[in-house]
């Protein structure tokens, strides 16, 4: 039994590695093979011939493609994505600086998504086929169908501009900027660590709207999955047994059915987190959120290939890890999948 589990996990780990390799290969193709002129893509069009030749050599473009690829794999494994010609900093340093903002946003988004999605999914499953089920389905579908940047714009107009309940674009109001020492880069954590609760409150009021526009979309996915997990469980015989024993419906649902969905829910939420990292790219543009999404968008307009590919690799790696890592987690936590 345990040997089999070990083998399955080993297999999964091998798949994770193969997928990382695939990711590196794809970004290599995007960065070095597909652009008509990778040098121009890297340094821009208006450079002297000497600089052009120098960069051409530096990028190893005079080498065979296979050597270039191996060099690229090596540099990615050393976490060297080259220099961003726009910020003139190493891309790794840039990403380390901006990524916490995205992480914080995606995390808040997934928390909101789970807080809405899981109860909604439970409600829909319990009231299956009734008006409530239909209503929940439609409300979730709305979140799923509306573009995340559009939801962001609407929220900004209503709750910031018209009602003034929430903070505007950016992570903080200008007069709170720079008051808190940067430790983790996660502003909420930094503010709490420093005991600066007014900064914390201001940060919350700024993160609320982008997190809600991300979280609403996420709740649609989480809610749908919750409903279907619950329905699968409700069909099982142990549910009838529990009911026959005379347990109240509440005890049946929260004592028996929900715990059996817990593992699947954890993996679903983990997957959603990966999706939100992607969605953050669009949301950040709307809210002037100084994260990885905004960094990458700016880089795209400047054809700053190193920065774009660095960001793609980071998000891609996290995405792959969550995607396949949640599968491993699932196998470890749920004995039924080991059969």
């Amino acid at each position: 039994m345990n040997a089999r589990l070990g083998w399955l996990i080993l297999r999964q780990v091998a798949i994770v590695f193969a997928t990382f390799f695939g990711l590196i290969l794809v970004t290599f193709v995007i960065g070095r093979v597909m652009p008509l002129d990778p040098v121009t893509a890297a340094v821009g069009p208006d450079v002297s011939q000497e600089l052009y030749d120098k960069v051409y050599k530096e990028m190893g473009l005079d080498q065979p493609v296979l050597v270039q690829f191996l060099d690229y794999v090596g540099s990615v494994l050393r976490l060297e994505f080259g220099r961003s010609f726009f910020t003139n900093q190493p891309v790794t340093a840039d990403i380390a600086r901006v990524f916490p903002a995205t992480l914080e946003l995606a995390f808040c988004g997934v928390v909101i998504g789970a807080l809405i999605g899981i109860p909604a999914g439970i409600l829909a499953a319990v009231k299956r086929g009734t008006f409530v089920d239909g209503a929940v389905r439609v409300v979730l579908l709305i979140g799923y169908s509306a573009p995340v940047f559009w939801k962001g714009l609407i929220l900004l107009v209503v709750f910031y501009a018209a009602l003034g309940w929430a903070g505007g674009p950016g992570r903080l109001s200008i007069f709170y900027e720079g008051l808190v020492p940067v430790r983790t880069g996660l502003l909420l954590v930094d503010a709490a660590l420093a005991g600066q609760w007014d900064v914390f409150r201001d940060a919350i009021s700024h993160i609320a709207l982008p997190a809600i526009s991300l979280g609403y979309g996420a709740s649609a996915y989480i809610g749908r999955m919750t409903r279907s997990f619950m329905l699968d469980q409700l069909k099982q015989e142990y549910v009838s047994v529990a009911r026959v024993k005379g347990l109240s419906e509440r005890q049946v649902i929260f004592g028996h059915v929900l715990p059996n969905c817990a593992v699947q829910l954890v993996t679903t939420v983990a997957l959603t987190f990966g999706l939100l990292l992607e969605g953050a790219v669009l949301t950040e543009t709307v809210f002037a959120w100084p994260g990885l999404g905004q960094y990458m968008t700016k880089a795209m307009f400047n054809a700053d290939m190193n920065a774009v590919l660095g960001g793609t690799l980071v998000i891609g790696a996290i995405f792959v890890f969550l995607n396949l890592g949640s599968d491993i987690l699932y196998r470890i936590l749920d004995p039924r999948t080991r059969a």
Binding site: A18, G31, R137
Partner: protein
């Protein structure tokens, strides 16, 4: 030959030719679909989308690029039902013409991505062996990639533009179709009629193209319908970031992008294109859900 009219034969399920049988099957699917108001609503939305796209020049009160610089950023009124944008262009007319971009994107992505998935998946399932293993490994790897980010990177390499965006979306969209086609092919390959064709000496290519792929189409179609909402959202996102269709195109993502600058003073410029995207995505989601319930009542998700 029965005495019934063509319509009656199709409707009552008494076809006399294979073509009629196919029609009868579609009719039965439609009858099932009618039972679900949500799916019918979705179908209606998509029907409206197609109709509006076809009749755009008739329906739109103004040209999509006609500027009235004296009438910039006017709120909705009798002359301009949804107001005007920063160049005095009629927002309603631009949304009406935008349906054409949406259909163009959706159809092209489907036409590029679905055949790749079909061919790879059907071959993988029918042939089995090491080809199957190889194809499925590659597909699994591609499935684990973040779609939007990868499309962004592709567009950066190709250069911004509508067609490049469509290629990028299609390049990131084929893996689910491989899975679907393979699953169908696996159930088909053991059936008697395939054995019969094999005995008749048909080549593998012929069997895959003419006998396996047609049977994969229904479930592929459902999956395509469900995916279309995602395709529209990614395309709109690319347009919004300025990497997809380029201004002054009357594409909804582009309209939203330029409208966001005026969100506080002229909310209608960005709000209505967003609503249009939302309704069309909703339509595809509702229809896709309904179709899935019909084809596979076991699956509840």
């Amino acid at each position: 030959m029965s005495d019934l009219s063509l319509f009656a034969r199709v409707r009552t399920g008494q076809p006399v030719t294979s073509g009629e049988a196919r029609l009868a099957q579609m009719w039965r699917a439609f009858e099932l679909l009618k039972a679900s108001p949500a799916a019918m609503a979705g179908l209606a939305i998509i029907a409206v989308l197609v109709l509006v796209a076809m009749l755009a020049p008739v329906l739109a009160p103004y040209g999509p690029y006609a500027q009235e610089l004296a009438n910039q950023l006017r709120p909705p009124s009798a002359a301009h039902w949804l107001g005007t944008d920063e160049f005095g262009r009629d927002v309603l007319s631009r949304i009406v013409y935008g349906t054409r971009y949406t259909l163009y994107i959706v159809l092209l992505v489907a036409v590029i991505a679905a055949p790749i998935g079909l061919l790879v998946g059907a071959s993988s399932g029918y042939l089995g062996g090491w080809i199957d293993t190889l194809f499925m490994r590659v597909t699994d790897i591609a499935l684990a990639f973040p779609r939007l980010i990868l499309a962004l990177a592709f567009v950066t390499a190709f250069g911004p533009g509508l067609n490049n965006a469509i290629i990028a979306i299609a390049l990131t969209g084929w893996p689910p179709y491989v899975r679907i086609a393979r699953a169908e092919a696996l159930t088909i390959r053991k059936s008697d009629y395939i054995a019969a064709i094999e005995l008749m000496g048909a080549s593998r290519l012929r069997i895959i193209l003419l006998h396996v792929i047609p049977l994969c189409l229904p479930s592929l179609f459902v999956r395509l319908t469900l995916d279309m909402a995602g395709v529209i959202l990614i395309a709109a996102g690319l347009g919004f970031l300025g990497l997809g269709a380029q201004p002054p195109a009357a594409e909804w993502g582009v309209m939203l992008s330029s409208g966001k600058e005026y969100m506080l003073s002229a909310w209608w410029v960005a709000t209505f294109p967003g609503l249009a995207i939302f309704f069309v995505c909703m339509g595809f989601n509702l229809l896709g859900d309904g179709l899935r319930d019909i084809l596979d009542p076991r699956q509840e998700s």
